[in-house]
Amino acid sequence: MEPSTGPGSAPSDAMDLFERMVFVRQFLERVDVLYRQGAVHGPAHLGLGQEAIAIGVASVLRPDDRSIGTYRGHAHALARGAPADAVLAELLGREGGICGGKGGSMHVTDVDHGWYGSYAIVGAHLPVAVGLAWASRIRHTDEVTVCFFGDGTVNIGAFHEAVNLAAVWRLPVVFVCENNQYMEYTPISAVIPTQRPAADKASAYGLPAVVVDGNDVDAVREVTAEAVARARGGGGPALLEMDTYRLKGHSAADAGAYRPAAEVEAWQRRDPLLRQREALVRAGAAEADLDAVVDRARAELSALADRVLATGPPPAATAWTDVWSDGSSRWRS
């Protein structure tokens, strides 16, 4: 399989950020198509509409910083530089999958690029992020760990245990709540007693309440860079709430019909790609050039999907490897 780079590494300018978001958008759209064709084995939770957070946050991190997130984590993995072909192969259960076919859509991980994984039990990875940050403290190194989670996570205990411990130990971890307004099929407003799922909890842990427009990539970058710099300098954790919206359902199997049409339309007008495009046009970019970016990404992802679909499955014997550090799965000595 030919290597595919994806949108990792440091961005150069607004156009570069646009190209990265477009690439991720086209990747997710392609996965949606492949899901409908029956080519995705298992569920696929798409972050369509939330690209500015994954791309914006990753764009202010150093290569040695760590990030970790949820089952809606394809964009975040690609944003850190995970090879798109290996990620897609994982989703499709083809040979060369980034987790060898043992993780699938919900567990995309690329440690080599600082992406410490996608976790499918809501809230479970927040304590793990605390441990990653604690290791930096013990080793007296200055990497920062960024931990993404959804708005629904604030109602599970692990969230509170993790944010509390990070605050008490003043660890270099930045918690990023992607408030896409829904916990699965239920509006977040129906399951929290205040308006803000994460920001309203911040004061309980001695942290400032920070809310940012998560569909504005520049705003995401600004607030994240500030939090990362503070954490890196020993100033402790941050809890950032970023407003965004899932443009489609909870998973690719969900049409999202429970959402009012007017609400969906209002958020479509706040699409982060649309806004970045408008900003570029205002700054003098030609519409044709921007269209070409989209066309190129679409063609690249189409070709990538064809290549991955043409590969075989992972070797059956690999189902028996990687349980233990010696590579085996033997439980009897």
Binding site: R66, G97, I98, C99, G100, G101, K102, G103, H107, T109, D110, V111, D112, Y116, G117, Y119, I121, A124, H125, L126, P127, V128, A129, V130, G131, L132, A133, W134, A135, S136, R137, I138, R139, T145, G157, A158, E161, A162, N164, L165, V168, W169, T321, D322, V323, W324, S325, D326, G327, S329, R330, W331, R332, S333
Partner: protein, 333 residues
């Protein structure tokens, strides 16, 4: 030879390994002051708060932070004060710690230890602080399980668990903490996955773990007074399981009693019995027999505890049953 108690053996193992390897760190509730079971005393003074860290009452954060620190290359030892409390962080243990290496296709190693007090011990701890929980962990691939019966093994096996590159759960029987024994002078490490023969015999095989290995030794002494020689195996680990040692012994004795403290409705003894039934059926001269804790939540009153507890006397009675069965078969023949 050094004189140790089971309790000081825990401390000795931690001292030995923390002096040897700067990546070994300890976290848990009250660990800097020595802990509820007085197993971690003196560590803070030598290693400081970076490496010996008190936590809030947050088992999810404790287990998850251990996992994250391990992913980042440390060798954390996390104390779970009572094994019963695993129920509060079971997601971290069985969904995250046990599976993440496999789900990421081997991208991460998780060299961590979760350790703490386990078991019944007729100390009035009741149903939520007195359970034998080691079999819980055995239902999920990806966790090594250690439960020593002597101070020397407590030292040597905990040291090996800390050096192991996979997650190891160490169950320390609270009824053994005060027991005394000798350990070799100097560094002591006991490999995981090897059963220890505590008594050599030819008439019946008694298999135990932790406190039930002690019961088996006492039972063997009582049986010896009747002229019956019992082969006593202390499994020491459930994963890796030294099934070969059990099969070898049963091959000679033809009779097996497996002794566990956990409830027999689904305990580890069932797995040992099944292995013997599947792989050594022709060697058996009597049905395999289990002695298990009562299938009730543990009571508190002394007389009620005694009703459901596992004792050497119950092991002797079980040995008599398997020996009598052989006698009946011989009579019929």
């Amino acid at each position: 030879m050094a004189q140790l108690t089971f309790r000081t053996a825990v401390q000795a193992a931690l001292l030995q390994e923390m002096r040897r390897d700067g990546d070994v760190v300890l976290l848990g509730e009250d660990v800097t002051s020595g802990g509820v079971f007085k197993t971690t005393g003196g560590l803070l003074a030598e290693f400081g708060t970076d490496r010996v860290r008190d936590t809030p009452i947050s088992e999810q954060a404790i287990a998850g932070a251990a996992m994250g620190a391990a992913m980042a290359g440390l060798r954390p030892v996390a104390e779970i004060m009572f094994a019963d409390f695993y129920a509060t962080c079971w997601d971290q243990v069985v969904n995250q710690i046990a599976k993440t290496r496999y789900m990421t296709g081997g991208q991460v190693r998780l060299p961590l230890v979760l350790r703490g007090a386990n078991g019944f011990a007729s100390m009035g701890f009741g149903a939520q602080h007195g359970q034998a929980c080691e079999a819980w962990a055995m239902t999920v691939p990806g966790l090594k399980i250690v439960s020593p019966s002597t101070p020397a093994d407590m030292l040597g096996l905990l040291a090996a668990a800390i050096r192991d590159d996979d997650p190891v759960l160490v169950f320390e029987h609270k009824g053994l903490y005060a027991t005394k024994g000798e350990a070799p002078d100097g560094e002591h490490v006991e490999p995981l996955g090897r059963a220890a023969r505590r008594r050599a015999g030819a008439d019946v095989t008694l298999v135990g773990l932790s406190v039930t290995a002690v019961h088996c030794e006492r039972a063997a002494d009582l049986l010896a007074a009747e002229g019956i020689s019992a082969d006593v195996l202390d499994l020491r680990c459930l994963v890796p399981l030294d099934a070969a040692a059990v099969l070898e012994s049963v091959g000679r004795t033809g009779r097996l009693v497996v002794v566990e403290e956990n409830p027999g409705q689904l305990g580890w003894a069932s797995s040992v019995a099944a292995i013997v039934a599947e792989e050594a059926f022709d060697a058996l001269r009597a049905p395999v027999t289990r002695v298990s804790g009562g299938n009730v939540p543990w009571p508190v009153a002394r007389e009620l505890e005694a009703e459901v507890d596992v004792t050497a006397v119950r092991v002797v009675a079980a040995a008599h049953r398997v020996l009598q069965h052989t006698a009946v078969v011989r009579t019929i023949a």
